[in-house]
Each structure stands twice: as C-alpha cells, then as structure tokens.
C-alpha cells in the first residue's frame, strides 16, 4: 500500500472532495454535471470491484454482469412493478445481485488468477445472451424502460429530468457514495479485510493460519456484486433504459480499466479512476473518431509505466513534496 498521509489529513482531504462535489452543480456547466452521475455510479461499483481485485487479488472480467443486474432490477421495479422509492430500488437491486452472485461465486472462487478472469468473462456473456434470448422477459436488444424514482418519497415532479438529475438525484447519489464509501472503508480495515489481504498475498499461508480462503473470497465476491448493482441502478436511472450492452465483456474491461487508472492498490484509487475515466472518455469521444485507440493507448501506458495509477503518481508527488 502506498504511504498514506496522517488520518486527520485524510479526513480533511475527503471532506474537501465531498465539499467540491457538493457545490459542483452550481459552478460547472450542466453537461459536465450530468457526467458526474455516471462517475458516482462507477465510483460505487468500483469500491466493490476493488474489494475483490485490489484487496483480495481476484481479477474479474465479468463484473459488468452485476452492474447490468442492478440496471435491470431498477427497470423492472420502476416500470413493471411500480416501485419508485430510490432507497428500495438500491436495496433490492443489491440483494438481487447478491443472490445472482451466489452460484457464480461458488463456481468461480474455486479458481484463481487467469482462470477466474476467463470464467467471470464467460458468465458475464452468458447473462448478455440471456438478456437477448428471453426478450419477452427482458425486452431483448431494446431493454426495459427505467422510470424516475422518488427520493425519500418525494417525486420532484415539478423538475424536468435534467433538473432532477443534476439536482436532488445528484445529492442523493453523492450521499450514497459517501455512505457506501464509509462502509467499504470499515470492511477493508476490519479483520475480515485484513484476512482478504492475507489471502491475496499468500493464499496457502493464509490457509495454514486458519483463514477460510474460499469462504472469504466468496463473501468478498458477494459484497462486490452488491456495490456493482447499486452503481448499475444509478446508471440506469441516468440513462432511462436498461439494455443488454451493459453486460458485454468490454464493459467489464472498462471497470478494470478505471480501477487500474485510478490505482487499485489505494482505497481511493477506484474513485479517482471512475471520475478520471468518465471525463477522459467523454473528451476523447468528442475530440476524435478514433477514441478507442487513444483509450487503449492510455491503458497500455498506465499498465506499463504507471501501474499504481493516478493515486500512485499522486502519492509519489506528495512524498517528493514532503521531502522538499
């Protein structure tokens, strides 16, 4: 882990970030504010994803599956079952994802490393095919509509969708991010979290020391699924539609990309990565039609030159500044 500044400095830094995010809607252009919503969604999703990857050492190439489950749960809840409460949607989507994660995790945690990645990729694509095939249920390629949720029971009907998104919904998501972030911080720094680290560092040794490796991997997997689904719910509400492409394996690849961009070895890395990626992608898409090439080149650059990601670069600079 990179050297962390003192706890009080950390708290101050986080408080500053939250404050900046809180005033952003009043300062920034509306388009960029709408971009922050997917950044929130991915930040939450990646908090969970990195529990599995950064902390436990398991690289999944199929976690878009749970993002999609979150999106589709939201769609079914709002447009087919009339459940509009955002709080209920978040909870139910998370639970559905955890339930779906049980069989996937049971099969996958028997494996490690590369095989785990391949397997999770296959499961993600299985869900993608399922979404296409059972079109009566899932809407096929067109997906399912997602209606506007109510926040704490309030519908904000007087606001149009954009105003709702960059207004009350923005703050609801920010709050959710803070809460889920705090929860994840506790998880990572709990005995459970430390044991996950031990499993990552040396599974056999951890086994010897009495850590129940498979069980803990399994649990980490379930938690990660919950977080990804919450992210998916936010994405779906932002888009207004849940569609199968959310489950495609390249979307899973983007999750990994964001995590590594921010720095998977740091708690805040994935959060930074989510924001950085969303803005990078948007600017690249606007600048050139060959944005995939430059996005890939960026990833290659990070992997080869800056493996600890943006947080790694930041902590290096911080250390240099402290020494100076």
């Amino acid at each position: 882990m990179s050297a962390l500044p003192k706890r009080s400095a950390l708290v101050a830094f986080v408080a500053l970030a939250v404050a900046v995010l809180a005033v952003l809607p009043h300062l920034a252009e509306p388009y960029y504010v709408t971009l922050v919503l997917p950044a929130f969604a991915y930040a939450i999703a990646l908090l969970g994803f990195n529990l599995l990857f950064g902390t436990t050492g398991l690289l999944s190439f199929g976690h878009a599956l749970f993002v999609a489950i979150g999106a589709y749960s939201t769609a079914v809840l709002t447009s087919k079952m009339g459940v509009k409460s955002f709080e209920a949607i978040v909870l139910v989507s998370g639970v559905v994802a955890v339930l779906a994660a049980v069989p996937v995790a049971l099969l996958s945690v028997r494996y490690v490393r590369i095989f785990f990645g391949i397997l999770t990729l296959a499961f993600g694509m299985l869900f993608h095919s399922f979404l296409f095939k059972f079109y009566d249920l899932t809407g096929g390629d067109t997906g399912i509509r997602v209606l506007r949720p109510t926040l704490l029971g309030m519908p904000f009907a007087e606001l149009d969708k954009t105003a709702f998104l960059i207004g009350p919904f923005y703050y609801a998501c920010l709050l959710l991010l803070v809460l889920l972030g705090l929860a994840m911080w506790r998880v990572v720094h709990s005995p459970f979290g430390l044991q996950l680290v031990a499993i990552r560092e040396n599974p056999r040794k951890a086994e010897y020391l009495g850590v129940r490796v498979r069980l803990f991997r399994f649990l980490a997997f379930l938690i990660s699924a919950f977080y990804c689904a919450v992210g998916g719910a936010i994405l779906a509400i932002n888009t207004g539609q849940a569609d199968p492409e959310l489950a495609y394996w390249t979307h899973s690849g983007e999750l990994v990309f964001m995590t590594v961009l921010g720095g998977f070895a740091s708690f805040f890395g994935p959060l930074v990565g989510a924001f950085a990626f969303i803005f990078l992608k948007s600017e690249l898409m606007g600048a050139t039609q060959y944005w995939r090439f430059f996005l890939g080149a960026t990833l290659a650059l990070i992997v080869i030159g800056f493996p600890r990601g943006l947080m790694g670069v930041a902590s290096d600079l911080w250390r240099k500044a402290c020494r100076a």
């Binding site: 490393r113 095919s129 890939g296 990833l299």
Partner: protein, 293 residues
C-alpha cells in the same frame, strides 16, 4: 441422414477454425501464462489482411485457385507483428498476471480502431472465391471443397503441432519452459527467445485462422470482440494450457452449436454456456486441463 452429415460437417468446419485460434491461446498460455484477449483482434486482422492480399495477388495476375496459399501466406506474414507485441508484453512479464491481461485488453481497444482506420466500416469479403474449388459430393451430401481443405489444414496443423511439441527438441524445451520456467532457464534455455517464438506462433495461428475463414464468411468490425467469447469457451471446456484441450474444446463447441441450430435453434448460444458450466461442475480443470489449486 444426409442432413445430419451436413450438420456434422458444418460443426466440424466451425470447430476447425476455432481450434486454430484456441491453439494459439493455449500455446501462449501454456508457455508464458498470458491469456491473450487480443486473440480475436489477430483473427480479424488475418481476415482483413487476407482479403487485401488476395485482391492484390489477383490484380497482379495470380490465378483464381491460388487464393488458398495466398491466404495462408498472408496469415504467416502477419506473424511479423508477433515479436512487436511480445516486446510490448515483455514490459509486464515480471508483474502480476492481471497486468498482462489488461495490456492485451488495451490491445483489443487499439486494434478496433486500427482495423477501422485501414479497412473502413464496410464489411469485406472475397466474393465467391471459396467455390473455386468446386464441391465434393459423396452420395447426396455435397460440401464445398474449400471447407474440406480448411478442415484438412486444421487437422494437419494440429498434428504438426502435436509432433512438434512431443517429438522435437525445441518442442520439449517449450514444454519444459511451460512446466517450470526458472528451471528451464537455469538449464540453459533461452527463455526470452522462446517467449518471442511462442507468441509469434500463437499470433500466426490466430491470423491464419482468420484468413482461412474469410472466403466462406466476411471480415467485419465486430469480429475481434465476438470471437473472444467462443475462444474462451473452447479453452475452458478443453482445459487451459492443453493442446488436446484445444481440439476437444473446439469440437465440443462446434458440434454443440451445429446440433443446437439443427434441433433447437433458439438455444444456439446458450447451449454452449450450458456445456461450459456442466464441464466446470464435473471436471473443474476442463477436459484435459491440469487441476488448479
């Protein structure tokens, strides 16, 4: 009965092409422990470049029947990018496998635009060249000769690879490096050179696969990301790192798909996933894989 044969042959043809790509994956994984997500990109590159090569050679007077050797040759020539990409991957060998996987994902993204930059968005094809060799008819079953040649080529390559790995000295060194890299290095094997050759060979298998399939199909921009899924299913079923697994997995996937299409068309893609899961539950390491921890 004839229709059953048609179906079977169709499945085996699909399996032949899948085998080539899977063999490339298995070889590279077996020796270097890298899973190449860009295998589909190489396949697509082989397809597009093959078309360009055939069009070029036809424009320069080559006879119609020469397109098969031209395709194979163009696939082999593309192997030149193998060492280049391997050099790139070499920068992350010492790191966690996750980085290697990610670097190949970066390649997938980059290749998508490279393909579009050179060949554009319109699908490319080779017209009806695959019919130049006519049809083979046994009784009522008729099958384009080209498809049979591809299947034969695939079998030939499988056999050669097998012989190469089992019987030749270099093959044995490769297998030793796959088993235990440090030991092989200590015993004098030029691991760097081996990695470069293995990756190049894996690349060539992919590009040749793409080149061989293009006369009966087309080259399209979504090939790179679509193929990865099937290739991975083959590898999971067959067992990661095993050549025999590549053959077995390819046959299973190809035939399952063909049978599903004939008897219960809706199942097509899902049938393969069902088999993947069934194999994993029954034999976690795949049909021929080594047991994992």
């Amino acid at each position: 009965m004839t229709s059953f044969f048609d179906v079977l042959l169709g499945g085996v043809f699909h399996a032949s092409v899948l085998f080539l790509v899977a063999a490339g994956l298995q070889l590279v994984f077996g020796v270097q422990r890298i899973v190449n997500l860009a295998c589909g990109s190489f396949y697509a590159l082989g397809a597009y470049f093959g078309i360009t090569a055939v069009n070029w050679s036809t424009a320069h007077g080559a006879p119609a029947w020469s397109f098969l050797p031209v395709l194979v040759l163009s696939g082999v020539l593309l192997g030149a990018i193998g060492p280049v990409i391997e050099r790139l991957l070499r920068t992350v060998y010492k790191r966690d496998e996750a980085f290697q996987l990610l670097l190949t994902f970066a390649l997938v993204l980059m290749f998508q635009d490279v393909l579009r930059f050179f060949w554009g968005a319109t699908p490319q094809q080779l017209g009806n060249l695959s019919m130049s060799y006519g049809k083979l008819a046994i009784g009522e079953v008729s099958f384009p000769t080209y498809n049979v040649l591809v299947m034969a080529a695939s079998i030939a390559i499988a056999v050669s690879l097998g012989l190469f790995l089992q019987r030749t000295r270099y093959g044995r060194i490769l297998r030793a490096t796959a088993e235990n890299r440090e030991m092989a290095e200590a015993l004098g094997a030029d691991v760097r050179g081996i990695y470069a050759s293995v990756f190049t060979l894996g690349t060539v298998l992919g590009t040749v696969g793409g080149a061989l399939v293009v006369p009966t199909a087309a080259a399209s921009l979504d090939m790179p990301v679509e193929l990865v899924v099937e290739a991975f299913a083959v590898v999971v079923i067959g067992g990661l790192g095993s050549m025999r697994g590549a053959v077995a997995g390819a046959l299973v996937v190809g035939l399952t798909r063909a049978l599903a299409i004939s008897f219960y068309a809706e199942l097509e893609v899902l049938a393969i996933y069902v088999i993947v899961i069934a194999v994993l539950i029954a034999r976690p390491a795949g049909l021929f894989g080594k047991p994992v921890e």
